[in-house]
Subunit: 412 residues, 2 copies
Amino acid sequence: MPVLLSAPLAADLLPVPGVRLGVSEAGIRKLHRKDLTLIELAEGARVAGVFTLNRFCAAPVQVCRAHLQAGDIRALVINTGVANAGTGEPGLVAARATCAAVAAHLGLQASQVLPFSTGVILEPLPVEKLIAGLPAAQEALAENRWHDAAHAIMTTDTVAKVASRQVQIGGRTVTLTGMSKGAGMIRPNMATMLGFLATDAAVAQPLLEMLVREAADLSFNSITVDGDTSTNDSFILIATGQAGNPEIGDAASADYAALRNAVVELSTWLAQAIVRDGEGATKFITLQIEGGLDKEECRKVGYAIGHSPLVKTAFFASDPNLGRILAAIGYAGIADLDVSRLRVWLARAGEEVLVAEKGGRAASYQEEAGARVMAASEITIRVDLARGSAAATLWSCDFSYEYVKINADYRS
Amino acid sequence: MPVLLSAPLAADLLPVPGVRLGVSEAGIRKLHRKDLTLIELAEGARVAGVFTLNRFCAAPVQVCRAHLQAGDIRALVINTGVANAGTGEPGLVAARATCAAVAAHLGLQASQVLPFSTGVILEPLPVEKLIAGLPAAQEALAENRWHDAAHAIMTTDTVAKVASRQVQIGGRTVTLTGMSKGAGMIRPNMATMLGFLATDAAVAQPLLEMLVREAADLSFNSITVDGDTSTNDSFILIATGQAGNPEIGDAASADYAALRNAVVELSTWLAQAIVRDGEGATKFITLQIEGGLDKEECRKVGYAIGHSPLVKTAFFASDPNLGRILAAIGYAGIADLDVSRLRVWLARAGEEVLVAEKGGRAASYQEEAGARVMAASEITIRVDLARGSAAATLWSCDFSYEYVKINADYRS
């Protein structure tokens, strides 16, 4: 059961002018399941993306990087079932064949198509099945199909992750709709396993590229479920320019700030949705690390807590096992950390409890207060490192029997 | 159930002349359980140790470091139940009071006593109970009590970890007996949560200090259960000098080599015993990483595989999920790793299977062969990074329902 996250209704989603979506059943790995998504962009749309830093990056990621370099992207094609990662040269051939087939259907060049795959690693992509599924997806293309698409890109996800926002820019209403997928192998490094965010705002390409990086860092690059960086992480930002606002070309403008805030907010929602639907998750944990010398050391401490199986199982048990949190802070890799100065709080909505200071348990700490916080579905661990003024916020979840079950069973 | 590890009989263990051990029930956390161990060393014994790098290092670790500096150690005192970590200044006071009480009983200075604690972090050490338990432990002191001591230092361990060896040095038979404890919060950084190895060899102090570091690096510092570095890790090497061999003072001598090999072999056995008894472990995994530019990058790759919850749950399921192993190698942090050159094998006794090469699954790979290897209790993952000639070997275990259960229940 995801943590305080439910599937949206199709009626809650706003179409983005210039973006049409269609899905179909290609039977890539299993029959009778929507596993192929086609997205067509209107002429003039701008696209920017960030991708995994995993050295075993998937074939489609390599093709995406090359095609984005060339520019003028007009279509995206996404399959589930098989990740087309760890597939060597044949994998690249399959990804390129996919682009060529999409291009043929839509009257484009293959280099105008971005391919995405998610699913099992090391299996060959059955590219002929994928290509055979394209006509049905093309036939379904429509602007109001975000709901279908968000479902068709799911793998071990239990809930579709998709949402819309609107914001006023340059006297026009600008729409943003985005979707993401992922529940395991989540510790994005650049971006997460498939996030797509489209807007009809008009924005210059360099700003779009700056924005996709910033939004990824503040959202998808700040979550972890199990510490495993995927081979296929991709986050794509699309701007169709059809809202009619004057093109945003100045990073210091109020228009850019409005767009930036809306993109970051929606990206963060999509990234948090992945954590809320983390494999086996029963708790949503915010890690708020302050007082660091720099952002990087704050993130180190946050990830040490967020990845510790001992901390994660204690959260699953609603057990305020503070010693495990302190141990994780202690081994996070800050060699000159003065543990006598740092402070740690546990918090839930409306209640914050100081749990550790002066190298040990806070004198004021009552186990009942800790237990009360730990019983909540959403919990914040706040750490003040007392070394400087840098801060970072990460999101993570707990570790349950269900995680082991899901991952011991996944391939069978 | 530990993986191919059973408790030794008391009759299998050899006393080390100059080392007497005694245990008692101090009721530190639970009643009616041996939780206090006293070790007395004869005059002239030499002691060297390495300790956790966790910044939240426990009070007894801080006291050990100071007392070892002063030298002439004559006693060790070990309690379970409470780790005396994250206990601030009162924790230090309790550890020093423990040493003073032991010294009073044995006619020593407090600085000649090393204190060790293991158990729950952040709880105050009930030092008065510990001190009240000392007379019974002192009364029990005998050279043939290693079996008792190895049981008395256990916490979530299911099997006592203790063994003996003999080796010929300088025309004399030298005895080594060692014990360790630990099953969770295991990713030692310097040494593990309580390992003690004693020998009657005569060896110079500088060599003993060199040896304890080398043995720790090759054994306790090369294992992981859950990636959590404990606050109390300690590994102590004792040489009583009573074997009658000419004192070893030359690191290039054959005598030193013989002692070094015996110490490293026994340390490795004790470290591996911790992994075999890892919380919930059903498989013992050897990670053999070769062809690195340096040892450090080999260890990075090994730990990435050894810590990945996805790899560990696949091992639990006996599922040859190669993609998860490749993904872990890919995110291990070697920025210029050429995945098209590396090769990966899965092996069990008598069978080694090439599973990946040229950036993907090996052409010769058969799923049946992978499944056959994964069904074994002891499995080796061998990775050739094809970058240089450095190598490292680490040991890890799988991740089961039982791990979650043990750690979700531990404090209750």
